[in-house]
Subunit: 339 residues, 4 copies
């Protein structure tokens, strides 16, 4: 950590800072600059974030952290990419790009089975579908809950596709884990630390969506919450951040993919459906995500989007999804990947 | 709801939309424009958000909602401001401005008792202090938990100040409600709907912080979650939103105060400590919040910020807090309020 | 335009609005809703934006525009994509993807000639290089000005590559147009309307960069400024928007590509160098832009980035650029384009 | 400047960086950390921003600047607040708060004279009014240009109020300076460096508005452009930044006031009209700005907002403005200022 003193700060102030750095177990190292002093504090600054409090000392202008605050998620701890096993047949993080597709919400048996068959036929390797739905409005459809989980399990039985579904509450996490192959944490719960700790104690891969206004570093810190509880199987999902632009529902930050690839060994996927909020933009952004290096995609598919209980405007019909899969294969090959 | 058709959309597409509007129980009303048609759908659009799915129909350019999606929080349901009772002596939402002050985290008996006495002497009416701490890093101090709640209760016993503390998990909400006079929902849990529903079932006022990237309408929808479960005592707290500016930890959006006052009957307070992240800016922004019409303030006070377990850089020392209270009284009077 | 009245607005207020709509030359059309009235104003609302002022009338809640405010840039005016001729050999907007490459600043003869030869050899079709540099600091290198233009012209003579360079002032626009094949308007001047009008009067294609906090609609309005002065040859360039994320210099909004493709006939390119600010991320984002449907790319290449006068950290060395071009060809083919 | 090496960077890389630092005229200073080395480069880093290019060297993780890039605007150069003389009677930056009021656009003689008299009667000390208007649409009213300047001068003659009006083009800056007492640079031109240099050469105070997505540091760099040309009379104006929130036209960042007060000696004012875009919010935000420490305000007043050529929705009628001035006096006194 680097402590920048104010221009013209008193020697007394500097000495107080040095004393405090030593008290906290770091070794101080002073650089006398042309207009101000800068003090390096050498030592492992993680887990002792109290050092930040030096910012309130007299004569201090700012405190600049040097170490990254995440450990288990970092490439410094594990250099080679993590390959996460989802089922006997499906793993993510290797050469193959994994496509998770299905409706936003499970609405009924026919809908989920029909969609599962269609996405499997098109080449998807995982079925998505929401049973517990975190909706902005308390008056919106909240999901079929356990009934929805049972229907997902039935669709898995029929198609063989592993399933991913959302967990919204520590109290029902065990229930979801009974049915689901991957536990999804939604964007609005991306810093719900009680929930992150809970899924960290379960033995299921976790698909962690980036929060709407989460920096990439905070995103890794949320992964770190899960991992520090013992669960190393975390899949990161870029799903759009909130910006001033309203032409799309969110702004899909595809640059997060190469940035994350440089910082962590965990697999990274993209969700162009939530990322754009409009089915017209799903195909180009799915192709772009693969070109940018994504390890997978999450795409909403619904047999009748105009009648969907949620997220109709961003859902692809099975036929359009099938056409997209064909294009995805070509782009994947062009960047030396496969679907 | 207004459905805008594309320029040159086929009559067939328009007729399909009209048919669907009727199916959903609305009355369609077509306006023929110079380049395109616009269709009004008359009826109560809340609770039937499925109407949004019309956006995926052929020939439709966009769907514009007219009704606000919140009901219980709206001024249309309740015109006069809500005055929420916190204790026998303290209510919020009336002429008096309520100041909630105390440390970010409860760290020990001496710290909390000393701070409670100091903020009471300065004129604060509520004691704040965190026992369960939602921290960005799993390696940071996570709070004293129940031990912290007991210390807060002890501080209340000694000073008579009611207490506000954060709830982070539906599973521990009942425990917090046993000790606390106000249940705080933090910014990172502002769309943790499981938690909102849970505190909606408890009989304690809820202090709801605005999420970092929450629009004002979404903020009211989260209040609506609490209210729709039966708990009408919601205090809204503006605490800064996330923007591109990094000179402050967040950007305190004081315009949210008059905007909210025009939309809801609920009281609105501001948190200039989290809103700025720097104790130098707390006093001017606290004064500004009162001038803008806030019903209260939440301010971090710590006897020794340099040694605080969390948020030291934004905490005021008791002496500075006392000086701020003096200035706040003058500004409050100038806008016909009192402290 | 749709005028939404407040719930319970007086009949008198509504009648005043209707009267005003008629005065302004529109035909009013009232829809009586369940809680409020909505009034459609039928007529061409462009060029009469004064209608917006109805928002300040008594009883009015909001005014929702229906028509898009741009005309010449819109697909309603011109359905087929515009193909813009840059030189005898190079056009943009067709099947071929155009790559514009070169240094941020022209620094000297050897540097620009060497780079021009290198990017040509790798397959770039246009040479970029700044002669007038808009720098955030008045103390930074401001460009070689006319001397830089002459060096660019020399590089064109040697390599045959047409050149693109920035215009920063209406007073020097004619000078730049003497030398340059494409006139670039930078992000910071994207709403410098005096400059937009000036280049609209010149007979050179304009490469218009998106402003850092410009919505896509405002972007098209700036193109409209150029076009309404008579110059229809506008190339739009997505170069990253400003968001809360600091891991990249800007957030490259690739979804702007399909969104713009749906709104306008103008060609759209992407600048992954400014969009990310870091050479590590240039290649993946360039590939992604092509997959998303971009008609071209603008990429910074410098023979010695560590010694560049500007933007060194985001510049590719010629060898890395050459490797990128090879990959770009594969991705372009996979989406049925060519380089 | 601090150069952070990657964890495990080779000694050779570090030595290259040290060599380069020396070449550039700085003194290197190495701190050996637990996982990586950090190198301080001691020397005046301003004017040699090329140091940033070290970021592209092998083994370098990041480069952290220590010195602020502005000089003339900084408090390090001039500690006491600058008081800027506008006319014989009016100065800004002292104890008195200066209110600049008037219509968005000058529309005609009667309108501007009537408004000038009204704002003077209410206590405003400066008249504002646009003659050259930078409008988002080329089809919107672009201002009366020189005719507007003449009308402003006439209003000054009648009322004695000095005038502030916008400059949009270096070519017409001299013309505007002939008539106007203060030269306003609008938000969209806040990084139009050609224009900043031009007004820096004129002998009139400059009112510089913050760009929509400008950081506070960039804002000061734009002031530095004006000052480095010789004109030290710069008034900074916070007028709202662009965020995700759409309930207000912009998000008025009042925390910018105390932040700027800590960084610069220049006076700081706020524009709650553009900052909110809605006349309902102008009064509370004007009061808040004064409480936060603003040296002045810029407020739009129009006798007939419903018929205004621009910005009607955010304009106050003279009667409302008069009522606001009464409240402003009370708040100003409560923070030891005067109007």
């Amino acid at each position: 950590m680097i402590i920048v003193m104010k221009a013209g700060a008193a020697k007394k102030d500097r000495d107080e800072v040095i004393k405090r750095i030593k008290e906290l177990g770091y070794k101080p190292h002073v650089i006398h600059g042309t207009t101000r002093d800068v003090i390096g504090a050498v030592g492992d600054e993680r887990g002792k974030l109290v050092l930040q409090s030096i910012e309130s000392m007299h004569g201090v202008e700012s405190v600049v952290p040097i170490l990254k605050p995440y450990k288990l998620a970092s490439k410094e701890v594990k250099v080679e990419p993590s390959i996460i096993r989802i089922s006997d047949a499906v793993s993510i993080g290797g050469k193959e790009i994994i496509v998770m597709a299905g409706p936003c919400s499970v609405e009924g048996e026919e809908q989920i089975i029909e969609t599962a068959k269609a996405v499997k036929a098109a080449g998807a390797q995982v079925l998505r579908g929401g049973a517990f739905k975190p909706r902005t409005s308390p008056y919106s459809f909240q999901g079929l809950e356990e009934e929805g989980l049972k229907l997902l399990a039935k669709a898995r039985e029929i198609t063989g596709l592993p399933i991913v579904t959302e967990v919204v509450n520590p109290e029902t996490a065990d229930l979801v884990a009974e049915y689901s192959d991957i536990l999804q944490i939604g964007a609005r719960n991306a810093q719900n630390f009680a929930l992150l700790k809970k899924v960290g104690q379960l033995r299921r891969p976790v698909l962690l969506k980036r929060g709407m206004s989460m920096t990439i570093q905070e995103f890794l810190m949320s992964a770190e919450y899960v991992m520090s509880e013992g669960n190393q199987s975390v899949i990161l999902c870029e799903r759009g951040i909130r910006t001033f632009e309203t032409a799309t529902r969110n702004t899909l930050d595809l640059s997060a993919i190469p940035v994350l690839k440089g910082m962590t060994h965990l697999p990274v996927i993209a969700d162009p459906s939530h990322g754009t909020g409009n089915y017209h933009y799903v195909a180009p952004m799915a192709l772009a995500a693969v070109a940018a290096g994504a390890d997978g995609l999450m795409i909403e598919v619904h047999p009748d989007p105009e009648r969907a209980s949620s997220d109709g405007p961003q859902s692809l019909k099975p036929k359009k999804f099938d056409a997209l899969m064909t294009k995805l294969r070509l782009v994947a090959e062009s960047v030396d990947r496969a679907i």
